[in-house]
Each structure stands twice: as structure tokens, then as C-alpha cells.
């Protein structure tokens, strides 16, 4: 879904409803989903989960084995890397969700003036062979994310 900016010229960024698997309580084996919509950020190769989301929602993060080389920084902030479980609504099955393992940069600090949303980069789209269609024929037109 597009979210309009309050600019003199029409401009939008694209959100998608998404959920992250989170701990029900600290160190608990029980989990639930918390809604954390993402912003489509094709300018970024890797997805990003801001620290404020990770800390406030207690997101379940699993380490990435075999990551070779240095973890890239994000907007000058050093990062760790990990995987989280991302849940997306299924268009064909109303009310049902599919989960994905999302590789993401985990910045050590908040980035000044950065969007507080999860950023989805091109690595996720490539990993799941996703097709992105954006309809810019009008300001309220929606896009679709098709994942086989």
C-alpha cells in the first residue's frame, strides 16, 4: 500500500503489512507475532531491522552461520547480521500468513532521521524470487509482491 508524503509534488513510499516472530516474555520459548510493517527499500541490498524495533518488540533473532567477511555498516552505523521470521499475508488465503526467514542487518544504534520501519532490501526479493509490481497510475494505486 502506498503512503503519501506531504510534499508539494506527489510522492509515495510503499508499505506492506508484515509481522515478526517475537518472544512472549524474555528468554521464553513461547512466541507470538507482532505487526511491524515493512517499507520497500530496493536501494538497499540487505534488509534492516532498526534497534528500536528489536528492543521494544523482543524480536526472535537467529545467528547467521558462514557469513564471510565484514558485516556492512548501515548509514555509518556498525551492524550485526541475523535472521528473523517475517510473516506476510497471503492474498489467495484471506486471514492466513506465510513465514519467511529474513536475512537482516541489525544496526547497533538508531540512525538519526531514518524511517522507523523494517526495510526490505533486494536480497530478500532475490532469495525468494519475488516479483514486485508497482502501479503508479494514480496516487492511491497499490503494488503487489508476488512470491512463488
Amino acid at each position: 500500500m502506498p503512503s503519501e508524503f506531504s510534499f508539494p509534488a506527489p510522492a509515495v513510499h510503499y508499505f506492506c503489512q508484515s509481522w515478526l516472530t517475537c518472544h512472549s516474555a524474555p528468554s521464553s520459548a513461547y512466541t507470538y507475532r507482532e505487526r511491524a510493517d515493512f517499507i520497500l527499500a530496493t536501494e538497499h541490498p540487505l534488509s534492516v531491522i532498526p534497534i528500536a524495533i528489536r528492543q521494544s518488540l523482543d524480536v526472535v533473532i537467529t545467528p547467521v552461520r558462514g557469513w564471510k567477511g565484514q558485516v556492512p555498516a548501515w548509514s555509518g552505523i556498525s551492524c550485526r547480521i541475523g535472521r528473523v521470521r517475517l510473516w506476510l499475508p497471503i492474498q489467495e488465503g484471506p486471514g492466513s500468513y506465510r513465514d519467511f526467514s529474513l536475512l537482516a542487518l541489525l544496526p547497533d544504534e538508531e540512525v538519526e532521521n531514518a524511517s522507523p520501519l523494517v526495510h526490505i532490501g533486494t536480497q530478500f526479493l532475490l532469495e525468494y524470487q519475488a516479483a514486485v509490481h508497482l502501479d503508479c497510475s494514480s496516487i492511491g494505486a497499490r503494488g503487489t509482491l508476488v512470491i512463488p
Binding site: 508524503f5 509481522w19 512466541t31 534497534i51 528500536a52 524495533i53 528492543q55 521494544s56 492466513s96 513465514d99
Partner: protein, 88 residues
């Protein structure tokens, strides 16, 4: 470090998650909320705004200063869109 095995989650939202979703959708689409909180993150539970901040953590911290703040895990954190006249 002991590895914790998490029981799998259903593809369908449970009651708690449905409440979170209801709060999220209400807040995100409400023009009055957009006018008041556009560009901010709000913590909302049962259609009541508990905390507001520039990010999720600031919203949570603000909420936790309020008496009777609901516990973590039952509230929605909404990144509010800016209000744009005629877009609702």
C-alpha cells in the same frame, strides 16, 4: 548458550494478534490519528494511545510511564502515515 526450540506458530492469527491487528488498522487509517501523530510511532491498545515517540522504543518508554500501562505483547506499534487531505 542453550538453544531454545520455539513451538511453531499457526498460519492464522490468534486472539491476541487479532486484537493487535485491529488496533493497528484503526490507528493507521484514522484521519484524526494521522493529523495528530503523523510521522511518529504510537503504542495503541484497545483503541487507546498509550505512548508516542520518534521510534518504537520511545513510544514504549512513554507508555510505560503511564499508570496501568498494558504489558508488552498486547499492544500495536504503529508508524503513523502523514495526513494528506483527500487521501482517506
Amino acid at each position: 548458550m542453550k538453544k531454545v526450540k520455539h513451538p511453531p506458530l499457526s498460519p492464522y492469527l490468534d486472539e491476541r494478534e487479532l486484537q493487535i491487528n485491529d488496533d493497528y488498522e484503526w490507528c493507521w487509517h484514522d484521519p484524526e490519528m494521522q493529523k495528530k501523530y503523523g510521522g511518529m510511532v504510537v503504542m495503541v491498545h484497545k483503541r487507546k494511545i498509550w505512548g508516542v515517540g520518534k521510534n518504537h522504543l520511545q513510544a514504549l518508554n512513554a507508555a510505560q510511564r503511564e499508570p496501568n500501562c498494558p504489558p508488552k505483547g498486547v499492544s500495536a506499534f504503529v508508524v503513523m502515515p502523514h495526513y494528506v487531505k483527500g487521501s482517506n
